[in-house]
């Protein structure tokens, strides 16, 4: 058994697709026919078989292609991966977490063996078999955070906790929805959230920070966030805005189904044991409209959500330009009938 990894691209010819099984496991983020910010945090516990929550760190059919795309981004721009000097210990914490979770969830693809500080890591999909000394950076080809996040889907921010705040002091960020680690590095929780509209007035960040600073070891938490992306491009960074920004002007009524993608982030929050830091994996899932509307409930619900979205949010998420075309296209798939409660397809 095991996963069949797809050969596909997230740039140029954009051959990224979801298999039918992956369409059904897509983490659709709307549990009702409307969307507004909420502190929608819940315990990050294992979910049902076949869902993206079957394992706490999810590996899917896009793994190999995503890791290749990450390597291309880093070759062009090494500042997508940064770790301030005091964050090396947290990097080892993260290496342990990701190796343990991937080996636990996918033993046919990953194996971790430990003999005291002497560790052997086998990553079969990427053809890696390394033996190293835990805690000794000189025994790995990269720093511990960079080493393991070149082999793990999703972006990773490591937050230092001090002075009652969280500080963005390390990260690997190449699959982001228009934000920049190089810009945010060293900022605290309120500083890096400053651009988000509406949420400050609702006091959401004060409550969210209080929650996050109390995240306990062995009790990770999660939330979903979403936006939309034109073409299945993982790297929608401010640094590369000139490459993807203009794509938004290319949406026509004819190509909505192929070009417009719902982009969902499964964000989780984990206390790191040695450093007392927090790691914040941001796992990005993409699905094109043609794939999404194969589930009629999702088509109806997404139509209503996008149609009724407050303008500030539509602007912040960058949808304004193509929203009319998208709503028009989705409206043809919405017969007005009720949608069942919950996230999943019918």
């Amino acid at each position: 058994m095991g996963i069949t990894f797809r050969k596909e691209t997230f740039r140029d010819d954009f051959t990224f697709r979801n298999s039918p099984e992956h369409i059904r496991r897509f983490p659709f983020p709307f549990h009702e026919d409307a969307y507004m910010y909420a502190v929608n945090i819940e315990p990050h516990v294992v979910g049902s078989r076949g869902s993206v929550l079957e394992n706490l760190i999810d590996v899917d059919e896009h793994y190999v292609a995503e890791m290749q795309d990450r390597a291309l981004v880093l070759a062009e721009d090494p500042l997508r991966c940064q770790s301030l000097p005091h964050m090396t210990l947290a990097g080892w914490d993260l290496l342990e977490l990701l190796m343990e979770q991937q080996a636990l969830g996918y033993p046919e693809h990953f194996t971790l063996t430990r003999d005291g500080d002497r560790w052997r890591w086998i990553n079969r999909p990427l053809g890696i078999d390394d033996t190293f000394t835990f805690g000794d950076t000189s025994t790995l080809p990269y720093g511990p955070m960079e080493y393991i996040t070149r082999q793990s889907q999703g972006d990773f921010c490591i937050l230092d906790q001090r002075d009652g705040n969280l500080w963005m002091d390390a990260g690997m960020v190449t699959t982001q929805a228009d934000w920049s680690l190089d810009f945010d590095i060293g900022m605290n929780f309120f500083e890096w959230h400053a651009p988000v509209p509406l949420a400050h007035e609702k006091g959401i960040f004060v409550r969210a920070l209080k929650f996050l600073t109390n995240i306990q070891q062995g009790k990770p938490a999660r939330r979903l966030n979403w936006t939309m992306t034109i073409n299945p491009r993982l790297d929608t960074s401010p640094e590369n805005y000139h490459k993807w920004g203009p794509d938004r002007a290319t949406v026509t009524p004819e190509n909505v189904g192929d070009k417009v993608h719902l982009r969902v982030e499964l964000q989780s929050f984990w206390r790191l044991p040695r450093s007392n830091g927090i790691v914040f994996p941001i796992r990005c899932y993409l699905i094109k409209m043609d794939e999404l509307v194969t589930q009629p409930k999702w088509a109806r619900r997404l139509h209503r959500v996008i149609r009724d979205l407050p303008d500030e949010l539509a602007n912040y998420k960058g949808l304004t330009r193509y929203r009319p075309a998208l709503v028009e296209w989705l409206s043809k798939l919405d017969d007005g009938s009720a949608t069942s409660p919950g996230f999943g397809p019918d």
Binding site: L89, R162, Q216, Q217, K219, P273, S275, N276
Partner: protein, 321 residues
């Protein structure tokens, strides 16, 4: 959503008297696995089944964070306290099965520090046992100043001196030895962080002097668990759960709420972490606030209480629980 800690089923693997007041307890996992790794400065909450009562007391982990075959805590006997330390000293024996929380760190090292300057008073030495072990393993730069009543009550002073030599400075009250605090604080290299754990008077003294001498507040760290104080019994109405309860003399408000079958979130049970913060719906009487979490303004407002350490005297108190 309640975010209390995950629990660990442990067995007491050893009980070692250290001196007239302090006893050390060792715990291992009942399933033989390793315990979770922790960071220096972390504590666990130990659950004690004392007859009808459940006591939950926080204690700093004092072993090396690198060795998680066992957790060790040191408990100072408090003959006039509410009984948790007496329970540990009198009833806990090797082989006993107990439950402790996952580690929680509210007194973390700032890993940006170029130097860690540590000041300990009495049993306040325990978090530094783990922090010095962590720093020593990484080649960290630290210096520990430890004040105790007498040499025989200088818990682990000998161990520390043997491990770290001149990086440990001892001060004995009975020999009139005192930390020359102003000189110490005035002669540190840039980038030094200051850590203090000990009696409230010592913590306040160090914080005050550091502030006067221009230390930025972000560089001064302190661990200050308040033990819940006994007091007069009082009645409380829990509006959400529609219950009226009595808080006994030796019981904390949080313990009384839990005894009634209501489970507010908690982490430290010492007035520090903020988890059990509770809204007051109405009150007629006087609050006795003992926490370090709420602001003075919030204390005066009568709108909030930290039930882990604070009490009430008066006619009626209605809480949003």
């Amino acid at each position: 959503m309640s975010i209390g800690t995950t629990k660990l089923d442990v067995v007491v693997s050893d009980v070692v008297p250290v001196n007239d007041l302090v006893t050390r307890f060792h715990f291992r996992r009942r399933d033989g696995e390793l315990l979770p790794i922790f960071s220096g400065g972390a504590h666990v909450v130990v659950e004690m089944r004392d007859g009808e009562r459940t006591r939950l007391n926080p204690y700093s982990l004092m072993g090396s964070p690198l060795d998680t075959r066992e957790y060790t805590i040191s408990v100072r006997r408090d003959d006039v306290g509410r009984g948790g330390s007496l329970f540990m000293h009198r009833h806990v024996r090797p082989g006993m099965e107990m439950v402790v929380s996952y580690p929680v760190n509210l007194f973390s090292l700032d890993l940006r520090a170029r130097k860690h300057l540590m000041l300990a008073g009495g049993i306040g030495i325990t978090p530094f046992m783990a922090q010095t072990a962590q720093l020593a393993a990484e080649g960290g730069n630290f210096e520990l100043h430890y004040t105790c009543r007498t040499a025989s009550l200088g818990t682990y002073a000998d161990v520390l001196r043997e491990r770290y030599g001149r990086r440990i400075r001892l001060y004995h009250d009975d020999r009139e030895e005192r930390i020359e605090l102003d000189r110490l604080l005035s002669t540190q290299p840039l980038g030094t962080h200051l850590y203090v754990c000990g009696p409230a008077g010592m913590i306040n003294w160090v914080r005050d002097r550091a502030a006067s001498l221009g230390w930025p507040t972000e560089t001064v760290h302190f661990e200050h668990f308040a033990a819940p104080q006994p007091g007069l019994p009082f009645d409380v109405t829990l509006a959400v759960s529609a219950k009226t309860i009595r808080v006994d003399e030796q019981q904390s408000l949080l313990e009384a709420i839990e005894a009634a079958g209501v489970d507010p979130p908690y982490l430290c049970r010492g007035g520090v972490c903020g988890q059990c913060e509770t809204n007051v719906i109405s009150s007629d009487g006087r609050f006795i606030h003992n926490d370090h979490w709420l602001s003075e303004e919030e204390h005066r407002s009568g709108k909030k209480i930290m039930p882990c350490v604070s009490r009430f005297e008066g006619r009626s108190l209605v809480l949003e629980r």
